[in-house]
Subunit: 217 residues, 2 copies
C-alpha cells in the first residue's frame, strides 16, 4: 500500500508532466510563429506563459506542504527538492519560448530567420521540441533509460549551434547584422531549452536511482 507521502509526491510529478506538456506547446507554437511570422501565434505563446507560472506556484506550494507535513529525510527529502528544481527549470523553458516568440513578433510581417538558414534553425527547433516532449514522457514514466538517451541527443543541438554560427559568419552571409543577431540569439534560446531538458531528465534519473545526476545545465 502507498503511504501519504508517495501519493502526494505522485501528484507533484503528475503536475510536472502537465507543465512539461504546456512547455512543449510553447516551444512548438513559438517555432511556428518564428518560421511563419504569424503575430497572433506569437501572442498566444506570450500570454499562455502566465498559466505556466501559476502552475509552477501550485507545484511549489504542494512541495512545501509535503515537506512541512511529512518531514521527509534523506532520499525522500532530496526527491522533493529535485521536484522544486524541475519546476523552476520547466518554467524557465517556458520563458525561453517567450523570448523566441518575441523575436518572431518583432519582425512581423517579415520572418526573422532568412530562408537560407531556415533548415538549420528549424532543425534546432525540432530537436528542442522533441527533447521537451520526451522529458514529459520521462517524467510520467520515470524512464531512466530514456533520460540517459536524452543527454546524448544534446550533442546534436551543440552541432547545430556550431553549424548555425558557421552559416552566419560565412563570407556568403548577405542578410545583414540584424538577421545574424536574431539567429545567434534564437540559437542560444533553443540551446538553453535543450540544456534544461537534459537537466530535468537527469533529475528524473536521480529521483529514480538516487544517483546524483551529471548536470550539464
Amino acid at each position: 500500500m502507498r503511504d501519504a507521502f508517495h501519493d502526494q509526491l505522485d501528484t507533484i510529478f503528475s503536475d510536472l508532466g502537465l507543465i512539461c506538456a504546456d512547455v512543449e506547446t510553447a516551444v512548438r507554437l513559438a517555432t511556428v510563429a518564428l518560421l511563419t511570422g504569424d503575430a497572433e501565434v506569437a501572442e498566444r505563446v506570450i500570454s499562455a506563459d502566465a498559466d505556466i507560472d501559476r502552475a509552477r506556484e501550485r507545484v511549489e506550494d504542494n512541495a512545501f506542504s509535503l515537506l512541512s507535513l511529512q518531514q521527509p529525510v534523506a532520499g525522500d527529502l532530496r526527491v522533493v527538492v529535485a521536484a522544486l528544481r524541475m519546476v523552476s527549470e520547466l518554467e524557465r523553458m517556458g520563458d525561453l519560448s517567450v523570448h523566441v516568440a518575441k523575436i518572431a513578433r518583432l519582425r512581423v510581417p517579415n520572418v526573422a530567420v532568412p530562408e537560407e538558414v531556415r533548415p538549420t534553425m528549424s532543425r534546432m527547433a525540432m530537436v528542442a521540441e522533441d527533447m521537451v516532449k520526451r522529458v514529459g514522457q520521462i517524467i510520467s514514466e520515470r524512464d531512466v533509460a530514456a533520460a540517459i538517451a536524452l543527454g546524448r541527443d544534446d550533442e546534436e543541438m551543440d552541432n547545430l549551434r556550431r553549424a548555425s554560427f558557421a552559416e552566419l559568419l560565412s563570407e556568403d552571409w548577405t542578410y545583414g547584422v540584424e538577421a545574424a543577431v536574431d539567429v545567434a540569439l534564437l540559437g542560444r534560446y533553443y540551446e538553453r531549452i535543450a540544456d534544461h531538458a537534459v537537466s530535468v531528465a537527469n533529475r528524473v534519473v536521480f529521483v529514480v536511482t538516487g544517483e546524483r545526476p551529471h548536470l550539464t545545465a
Copy 2:
C-alpha cells in the same frame, strides 16, 4: 541564545557570501579579459569556475543535512530552500562569466568588442559587477533596503542592452557580423548576470521578511 538551526543557517549564508565574492571576481576578471584580450586572465576565470561548483555542492550538502536533521517547517523550511535556490543562481552567474571569458579567449589576440561600442559594453560589465558586489553585502548583512534598491538598478541594465542593440543595428556599424554577434551575446550574458543578482537579492528579502519576492529572473 541561538539554536542549532539558526547557527547552521548562518554558516550556509556565510558560505553564500563567500561564493558571491568568487562570482564577483569571475565577472570582474572576465571583463578584464574581454576588454584587453588577455588570454591568461580568461583562462583564470574558466579554471576557477570549478571552485564555485565545489562550493555550491558544499552548501547544498549543508542545506540538505540541515533539513534532514532539524526538520524545519513553514518559514524556516522556505528559508533553507531559498538558500538552495540562491546557490544555484550564484553558480549560474559564474557560468555566465565563463561564457564571457570564452568569447574573449576566442578572439585573442584581438579584442571581441570594437572600440566604438566599448563604452556601452564596459558600462554593462560595470553595472553587472557592481550588482554582484552589492548582492554579496546584501547576503552578509541581510539588507532588505539595499536588496530592493538593487531591483531598481536592473533598469539601467535594460537601457544599456537597448543602447547596445541600437549601436550594432545602426547604419554606421562597420565591424561586420562576427563582432555584432559577439556584442549581442555578451550583452545577453551580462543581462542574465544582472537578472540573477536581482533574483538573489529578492530571495534575501524573502528570507528576512517572509514576503514572497517579486522574481524577475
